[in-house]
């Protein structure tokens, strides 16, 4: 797998405020891109712009040698997204939510039960999502990442709301994903220490 993510000359305005200008980076398999900065510095906006949720003022992003605006579907087939909103339906159970999502993107060969066990979610599987705590819902969002086969993980504050064990788990998951040749773009205000080669962008 020699897919690469390249970005050059990214500029984004929100209103008349310039969040970043002429930003460039390259990301290879096995590498982590860490977006750092104060609250409101534009980490989430940059993440959303890369995922195609925000229109950039200028600049281009290339995935596998072609601009992502030319092949949005191929690019989105390669990414899995975790934002501060977990994106689950409160009225449906954990299993129903993940079953619905499994049709939305390519699935990895990870075993569903093992994944739930690993994240300590097994006994919650029949409960409606709304009765889970914020941290437990974040764990389900982590299960979504593990169940997907996408090589690029995009995460906004992945460890927020998690307890110390959950944090370790998330970092361990990221490490494993990267050592398997995946890529990750993570926005975080806490420092995340990984063995994998890490690029940092200070916003």
């Amino acid at each position: 797998m020699n897919i690469k993510l390249n970005a050059s000359g990214l500029t984004l305005f929100r209103g008349d405020r310039c969040l970043f200008k002429n930003l460039s980076f390259a990301l290879n398999p096995g590498e982590l891109l860490l977006l750092e900065g104060r609250n409101g510095s534009g980490k989430t906006s940059l993440l959303r712009a890369i995922a195609g949720l925000l229109e950039l003022e200028s600049g281009s992003i290339h995935w596998d040698g072609a601009a992502i605006s030319q092949q949005r579907q191929v690019f989105q087939n390669s990414l899995v997204w975790m934002s501060h909103k977990v994106g689950f339906k409160g009225d449906l159970t954990l299993v129903e939510n993940l079953q619905y999502e499994s049709r939305l993107r390519p699935q990895s060969s990870a075993d569903f039960d093992d994944t739930l066990k690993q994240l300590n979610l097994r006994r919650l599987r029949r409960l409606p999502m709304r009765s889970l705590s914020a941290g437990q819902q974040r764990r389900v969002a982590l299960a979504r990442m593990l169940m997907s086969a996408a090589p690029l993980w995009m995460m906004d504050e992945p460890v927020s709301n998690l307890d110390s064990e959950g944090r370790e788990l998330a970092v361990h998951m990221l490490d494993k994903h990267l050592s398997d040749g995946g890529m990750a773009i993570v926005a975080a205000h806490q420092d995340i220490k990984l063995d994998a080669p890490t690029h940092k962008i200070q916003l």
Partner: protein, 232 residues
Amino acid sequence: MSDKDEQMPSIFNGMLSLLRRDLALAIKRPGDILNPLFFFAMVATLFPLAVGPGEEQLQFSGPGVLWVAALLATLLSLNSLFLADYEDGSLEQLLVSPIPLSAMALSKSLAHWLTSGLPLVIVSPLIAITYQMSLAVTGVLMATLLLGTISLSLLGSIGAALTVGLHRGTALLSLLILPLAMPVLIFGARTVSLVAAGDGVAGGLYFLAAYALLMMSISPFATAAALRISNE
């Protein structure tokens, strides 16, 4: 390249999965289906009490009242079409999914029609009795409502997508939708009046069917574009 295409999730499976999820949610929250339905039934049954029970009067005003009530009931249910998905972030997950957003928009419209339009069609014969409509007229009423509510669900999803990012966009949504819903209202109500007067109805039904097809071909793409704008 062909390798990657094979790994793409199937569009049909994705649409079906979304439809199944929305129907499951509707069953868990029956109020979302029943509220517009009660509204429809209430407006339509209160009207005869207000204007008086004269048979001629009722048969004259019936089609119009039923159609206005159906239109308003549909508008009432449109506001929540994308709102919950927007607020809990599952809309964002749809936006970054490899399945084309327009296909998912069509699935959402279909789910909306199954939970709002179809129940209206099903209860309309009961209401028609209040207006002393004959069997033939009731049949035509159901046919116009069937075709008309399909158009309204598809048209409405464009408006709901445009206003989902705004707080309290209900008034704006109605303003956006109503001008384009007028043809449905006019042809729907007129066709029922015509059959009551003993005239032919084919023209009206053809128009409603054509309008539904037009909406079916425009709405998914317009809704998808609107959802992207609303989520910026």
